[in-house]
Amino acid sequence: MSSDALQVPIDMRRLRARKLVRTFITKGLSHLALIATAALFIIPFLWLVVTSLKEEAQVFTDPPIWIPRPILWSNYVDALTTPAFPFLHLLKNTLFYVIMTTIGTVVSSTIVAYAFSRLHFKGRDTLFMITLSTMMLPGIVTLIPTYILFRWLNWVGGYAPLIVPAFFGAAFNIFLLRQFMTTIPWELTDAAYVDGANDFVILWKVIVPLITPALLVISVFNFMGTWNDFFGPLIYLDDLSEYPLVMGLYAFRTQHSIQWNLLMAASLATCFPLIALFFVAQRYFIEGITLTGLKGA
């Protein structure tokens, strides 16, 4: 009997130990599943890095070569300085494109969102419904007439068709900023009204500081979308000297007899600035994508 009394705490300990082992195993299995899946996503990317550092003869081998010998850092020098891929010039074009559209869309969408959320005027809610419905509008239906319009304006062959529309607002950004602005208490802006501030002052001094995270989200999101935009530059630009990086990369592939190692170096260089930005501002990237799902929730 007395030995039974002693048994109880031991059993408890054993039970706790077993539970610990079980959570250890399930967690281990979870990690294993996650590592295996993550490998599927990371290995292709790793191959981009590895191939960019190989000699040309080592790109396609059987068995595959994982560690290039020698590691040719000079591929980057070669790829980024050939006249076929003038990296710095392309980068300058990309930055111009990205910065201009980001400024355009952030400023215009903020102003429009302010009207939709803080001002009352006739037809506002109908107009907002139209705005929401355009978010699902497939780009294909406006593509050709828009091109013809820009052609008629003699804007094809330059950045105007790619940048000017950004200054007139973008449906998703307007929607998102409006959602943020409607949460701001009216007392804050009413106080400013009483002090004699006009709407521009209120927007700039009261609203903008409060929605800075949302503004960063749409900036980062637009930055990424424009950096990676291929179709717009493809149809509106027609000279290497005007191209942004992705178009330059496309031209590099078509103009040259393909040297895959250099092409991979150029590819990595094209996405590197974006990846760097991602690691600095990961929060805003993730929030931005998450918020695109907001419409569904």
Binding site: K27, A33, L34, T37, A38, F41, I42, P44, F45, W47, L48, T51, F60, P64, S108, I111, V112, A115, L119, H120, F121, L127, T134, L137, P138, G139, I140, V141, T142, I144, P145, I148, L149, P165, F168, I174, V194, N198, D199, F230, F231, I235, L245, L249, R253, W260, L263, M264, S267, C271, L274, I275, F278, Q282, I286, I289, T290, G293, G296, A297
Partner: protein
Amino acid sequence: MTASLQARPAGLKKPGFQMTRRTRESLTGYLFVMPWIISLLVFTAYPMLSSFFFSMTEYTILTPPNWIGFQNFDVMFSKDPLYWKSVANTVYYVVLSVPLGLGVGLGLALLLNQKIGGIGIYRTAFYLPGLVPAVASTLLWMVLLDPRLGLVNAGLKAIGLEPVGWLKSATWAKPALIVMALWGGSGSSMLIFLAALKEIPQSLTEAAMIDGANSWQRFWSVTVPLLSPTILFNLVMSIIGSFQIFASAFITGAGPLNSILMYMLHLYRYAFRYFNMGYASAMALVMFFVLVLFTLLVIRSSSYWVHYETSGRQ
């Protein structure tokens, strides 16, 4: 109201022209939305309406459009064999890539929705491919999917499977595009699903657990219904996106026997290579109506399978 007007400096009052605050607010409102109204008119309404006109013309940009009635549609439906090829290719691609994309996105989100360490690292790993621009990722996959010496076929051989021709084979070129799309696109749908999963109150899954539901039942009867609005959103967006697939097909060059000549690629060639804007507009219009139809069908069907929490609680 007068109090707030009197609070302003006297100099701002214009004698004889006193606007009420309401009128002033309206005017400011119209002024502020003006850019967007212009955008809607110039970049949405006008192009949409003029699409109808252009689709009825022969228009090569160099000469003014020439009215030809329904001829473009006639050519499209009965005289352009490549048109139907592109339709078939695109449908094949959409039918496979949309459910696979949703499945992988949701699967990754479920994997990440666990209480274990290092989630941030895994999340970054899944999302990283989404940062690679289409041109770069297509070039990379051309290397990976090389039929003779590509890494993917080496992997298939290593696990005892037959290597396939991928982009060099008429049969495997479409699956190759789907693999590429899954790699680049799963990260963002995963993030959207993950955010929705985090919204599900733990009390609900715990209650189901107490009622004796196993993890599969909890998934189908609790998680999926609560995720259904998000599934609907991702479904609509990925249908619209997949029908308009372009970059990967364009860069790899339509594939052997036009096996990845996608709808957008066919349209692009007519519009920007042959400058046959009338025919391309007709193609765009047909695609537009198909997409509107699909979107409406999916949204209509949603009353049968999408669960909104408010209605569920009655």
